[in-house]
Amino acid sequence: MVQDTSAKRSVADLNIDDPVQLEVTRNYLIGTCEEMGAAMLRTSYSTMFNEARDFSCVVFDAAGQMIAQGDFCPAHIGAIVHTVEWAIKEVGPENMHPGDVILHNDPYRGGCHMPEFMTLKPCFYKGDVVAYAANIAHMTDIGGMVPAAFGDTRNIFQEGLRLPPIKIYKDDEPVEDIFAIITSNVRTPKVSRGDLMAMVGSTYLAERRIVDLIDRLGIDRFNLLSEQIKDVSEVMMRQAIARMPDGAYAAEGIIEDDGVLPDTSYRFAAEVNVRGDEIVVDYTGSDPQSAGAINQSFGTTASATYATIFHMIPDDIPWNHGAYRPIAIVAPPGTVVNVNYPGSCVGGNSDTYPNTMDVLFAAFSQMSDRSQACDGGTSGLLGIYGTNIDTGEPFVLLHIEGMGCGGRIDADGNDAMVTKNGNCLNSPCEVIEVRYPVRIEEYSVIPESTGPGAHRGGFGVRRIWRCLAPITISAHVNRTWFRPWGLKGGEPAGNAALLFKPADSEEWLSAKDLYDRISAGKFSNVELGEGDLIMLCTPGGGGYGAPHERAAELVRQDVADELIDAQAAEQTYGVVLDDAGVIDEDATRLAREEMAHAAT
């Protein structure tokens, strides 16, 4: 039963008979998703899951439409609406049986990129499928030419193992043939199997919770509430969009290279069309797909679109299928936003995605102050492969680093945060040092990384690693020369850097200069020895608003916190401090009047 809500103008028009029960049910389902996540944290093997939390748990109704999501990764949650829909259609509900679990990671089939494995469990009640529980999670290694997948791959085959929707569980038993194929093709078979079992376990937990709920409500009531959950979100979303001014708002940005073709950047174009109570985001004009891994699948582009629009909307709208209904996407095939087979796209979901969001934020900034300046926009991905010194076991670490977020109208950008599509955590230095043969010799904020503004961008970070044993390193890092832009008079931020200092050297050099790679930020399989150093610096966020309009007290506090020095306070922000660090009001007023005049 699918209701047409397009004629409904308010939630009142939906005639919700029991709004309290609706809210309780909605939050029960969200709680189920969060509980799936808790199970993942406690039962998974890799730091990608139990430290970085790079997974998302979602519940769908019998029609394969999302009815609940937890507070996880936007990158997953936006794509999964397509991933699940197509998995259900391709397998066929008539071919699903109690005890089945489906596995799928194909980016061309609505997925985001291949490391994101999705386990999907049809939830049965008295013999019928009544819901689906899904867990989409980033497997650290998927085989392929690059440990942890991120580098300079040129096609999908180099990335690793691609799985269309297949059953890995039947009649509540693992399909060992499928597990054998997977574990035979990855570098960390024990960890990968353990992670997959954790994912499967979380879907079983969700099924139990859903069955409990239906035992209490009855199936008819559950189905009605599921429809109401979606319809309420759709109405609220349409109301929010209708408050935006109609029009077409265009912007573009670049990804600086793909790791394959030297000195070649790629253009991403987006036009946000607000048409009454719906939005059409059109990516026509984006460059043809690249030779490397920076392409986005359709699922990734759709996800970036949804995530940005949800950022622009007041956050009291429940995020489920209903909220997605008023959003349409045009993504021309064979472009960087909709890669054709067999193009590589592993980097698309991690680093290109925030770039796409920044382009959309730039478009939205033309009609809304709720937008933000450009983020650091890279996860600073380092894939590190080697052998554990103590156990002799192989390991693969995919390190995700924080960067600075763009300044906003009402706040500075967040510091040292994993990109906005990830919502992940990086691993603590102590955990890294215990589990892998490295020592973190520095982990600090980079003061000069921020983009100045009335609200400055967040700070990027510097992390220096010392290898305690031979390792192989691959990387997918953006913005090594492109600087995140400011907005509405804010200034650009500092860019990223990935440098190496061999044990017998005193000089920091890039992979281009030291290891003859095409790109300083995107490369595969560099061999490092014991004592070699790695330095990763991530970008800051762009500033929002003119620096001379920043509250003088905030500038004084930044100086007191040693985030900027007194000279920068005066030259960039026009705030003059005396030797005691106290604001000289008269000198500051004069300096800022000069700056304002120069800016006009």
Binding site: H82, W86, K89, E90, V91, G92, N95, D106, Y108, R109, G110, P164, P165, N273, R275, V280, D282, T284, F298, A302, R325, A328, I329, V330, A331, P332, P333, N338, Y341
Partner: protein, 64 residues
């Protein structure tokens, strides 16, 4: 469960997504249009074709 290879799948002429199974074949301006959903068919008629359709037809194409 029969599956098509990705290079055998059609794409929605509105949004561009690959369609593994159950594509919809609609008609617009006397020509067949492949879409993934009724929503995309509406977007095709009201947005994509007025903006790009005639140019695409003149170039001998028509895909979204």
């Amino acid at each position: 469960m029969p599956q098509r290879e990705v290079d055998e799948m059609p794409r929605c002429q509105s949004c561009g997504i690959l369609i593994p199974v159950q594509e919809m074949v609609k008609e617009h301006e006397g020509k067949p249009v492949i879409v993934c959903s009724d929503k995309c068919f509406r977007i095709y008629r009201t947005y994509w074709y007025p903006r790009y359709g005639q140019k695409a037809a003149a170039q001998g194409g028509g895909d979204g």
